[in-house]
């Protein structure tokens, strides 16, 4: 089913403030996404050779996840980037449900930044199994706006695209946001310089006129690797920024303190009425819940994951919560503890009091399972993606090439894997799918890492509703 057909089916939807005689991309509501979505057949996954002795560019992998297909669980196509050295990482769509009132707009183009190169690729997925690069924004054009290190891509209403930029043109602070127009040209810097220093992930919730952004570090700090000296020197972030979405200015900054070091992935509830969200503080390995209280945002630690002793380590091993996501029905928070080797799901029907539903112990330093189908996993669960119906959770195992080298050096030689668990959202249970493994270690040019995952029809970390 094409995006156009999809939006056609969803075309008669109605919501809030807009005349819904028009057809646009996406779904009228999160529940509509659950009802209308077919099980995913194709996954787009970032594949990397950067930082290896593999003389090949990074690539967009097209993975067959259609159970009825002969090539189920295989990489069926790879779109190689025009240059080496990008470090493909996160990526996003030109349009999502936030533009569902914009007729003529389709969810069709992927915006794929290079984290190290600061190059931005536009990929047309009209043919889902044979996408092609149509435009490339070169690093020099990005540096002109005194920005570098593109990270999170969110489409924003009316067809424009916002990208969080983690550094200035020198890879130092401050970072900011770069805006692209619907022709994929740089519109300019979105934020007035100086609103924030550090940047990382962001999400917006239009009905509260809010955007929330998180903090990693200056690119020159995190690019070479994770150095405790930098943590001690205060070079890593620990604050959340709540922005006036319309004005593009920070209204409130909350310091999460020692327990909130390196807040990375941030997710609002999907319901446009949702005034709750979560952020994973990767280094401190805690989950913080934030919510709207009268006219300000408040934050409290909601889940605390403990470090564990390991015979080969001088210090207890922190779990390192590197990714979280909220199921489309806002019922569960899923997350990955990359170093420990754990994927978990918590019931967040009472967002202030998450309740553990289930977890899987797989990969990492403590996982009960260290191989699937005879293939050693060699790293922990990292980037997650959930089917729109909430029944299939997939993940890859690479965090960032230089950080992988520190914590899971074997991944450079063996490559990443993509794994899957079957979820029962009624029972709150997860079960590893023993028959599913996509091997990024077995490619013609050499072993590759794998990072973020997306579906062609939207997923649990892309769509926002107005």
């Amino acid at each position: 089913m094409s995006d156009a057909e999809q939006s056609g089916e969803a075309g008669a939807h109605d919501h809030h403030d807009y005349d819904h005689g028009v057809e646009g991309p996406g779904y009228a509501t999160p529940q509509a996404a659950i009802e209308e979505a077919e099980p995913e057949q194709t996954a787009y996954v970032m594949g990397l050779h950067v930082g290896q002795d593999v003389d090949a560019p990074d690539f967009l992998a097209v993975v067959d996840v259609d159970l009825d297909s002969d090539t189920y669980g295989e990489i069926v196509e790879r779109v190689q980037m025009p240059n080496r050295g990008d470090e493909l990482h996160h990526f996003g769509w030109n349009a999502c449900s936030s533009s569902c009132h914009v007729s003529g707009l389709e969810r069709r183009h992927l915006v794929i930044p290079g984290q190290r190169s600061s190059r931005i690729h536009i990929v047309d997925t009209k043919d889902r199994r044979d996408p092609e690069i149509t435009e490339v924004i070169e690093p020099e054009e990005v540096y002109e706006h005194d920005l570098s290190a593109p990270h999170t891509v969110h489409c924003i209403p009316d067809g424009e695209i916002l990208i969080s930029m983690l550094g200035d043109a020198d890879g130092d602070l401050p970072g900011g946001f770069l805006e692209l127009n619907d022709d994929f040209e740089i519109e300019g810097r979105w934020d007035p310089p100086g609103e924030i220093d550090m940047n990382y992930d962001f999400w917006y919730q239009p009905r509260y006129n809010v955007m929330v952004s998180t903090e990693w570090a200056a690119p020159k700090t995190y690019y070479p690797g994770f150095d405790l000296e930098d943590v001690e020197a205060g070079n890593y972030g620990r604050s959340l920024h709540f922005w006036d979405w319309e004005a593009g200015e920070v209204e409130q900054t909350i310091d999460l303190g020692e327990e909130g070091q390196i807040p990375l992935e941030v997710r609002f509830q999907h319901t446009p009425e949702g005034a709750h969200g979560f952020v994973g503080a990767a280094l401190s390995s805690n989950i913080f819940h934030f919510w709207r209280d009268d006219d300000e945002w408040r934050v409290e630690k909601a889940i605390d994951f403990e470090a564990r002793e390991h015979d080969d380590w001088d210090m207890p091993v922190p779990p390192l919560v590197t990714d979280i996501l909220v199921s489309m029905d806002d019922r569960y928070l899923f997350g990955s503890n990359w170093l420990h080797g754990e994927v978990w799901m918590y019931d967040i029907s009472d967002p202030a009091n998450p309740r553990k539903a289930d977890s899987l112990s797989v990969g990492g330093y403590f996982g009960d399972r260290q191989e699937v189908g005879g293939r050693d996993i060699v790293a922990g669960p990292q980037m997650l993606q959930l089917s729109l119906d909430g029944e299939r959770l997939y993940w890859t195992t690479s965090l960032f090439s230089s950080w992988d080298n520190q914590f899971f050096p074997e991944e450079a030689e063996q490559g990443s894997v993509m794994l899957k668990a079957d979820i029962n959202p009624r029972k709150g249970t997860m079960r590893l799918d023993e028959d599913f493994l996509v091997d990024f270690g077995d490619l013609p040019e050499g072993p590759a890492r794998a990072h973020e995952i997306r579906w062609p029809d939207g997923d649990c970390t892309s769509d926002v509703w107005q």
Partner: protein, 104 residues
């Protein structure tokens, strides 16, 4: 200038001729020798190499390298131009040593 490259793991060796003002990485690309790299501006350290002999100068500040790295002889081929004939250890293994696991 002549730049001799060696790789730790494979024992591979290559010799490059580097024009004045050219970076080691640029010369390697001209010669069809694949070296790891990322930002190409000195911020990321993906191309980190160890200087065994000779002198190079960085045409921009090598921001990815801390004082201890410079003292240990790390250089960044993406922005390093040779001042004399040099010998460099290159390849992904050099970057892997740059920042070790801090807890292990």
């Amino acid at each position: 200038m002549e730049v001799r490259l060696c790789w730790r793991d494979s024992g591979r060796q290559e010799v490059l001729e580097v024009e004045e003002g050219e970076s080691v990485l640029e010369a390697a690309e001209v010669a069809g020798v694949g070296l790891p790299f990322g930002c190409r501006t000195g911020a990321c350290g993906t191309c980190a190499a160890l200087l065994f002999e000779g002198e190079v100068s960085h045409r921009r500040p090598p921001r990815a390298l801390k004082q201890r790295h410079l003292a240990d002889g790390y250089v960044l081929p993406c922005i390093a131009t040779p001042e004399t004939d040099v010998r460099l250890e290159v390849g992904a293994a050099v970057q892997r040593d740059l920042v070790p696991n801090p807890w292990k």
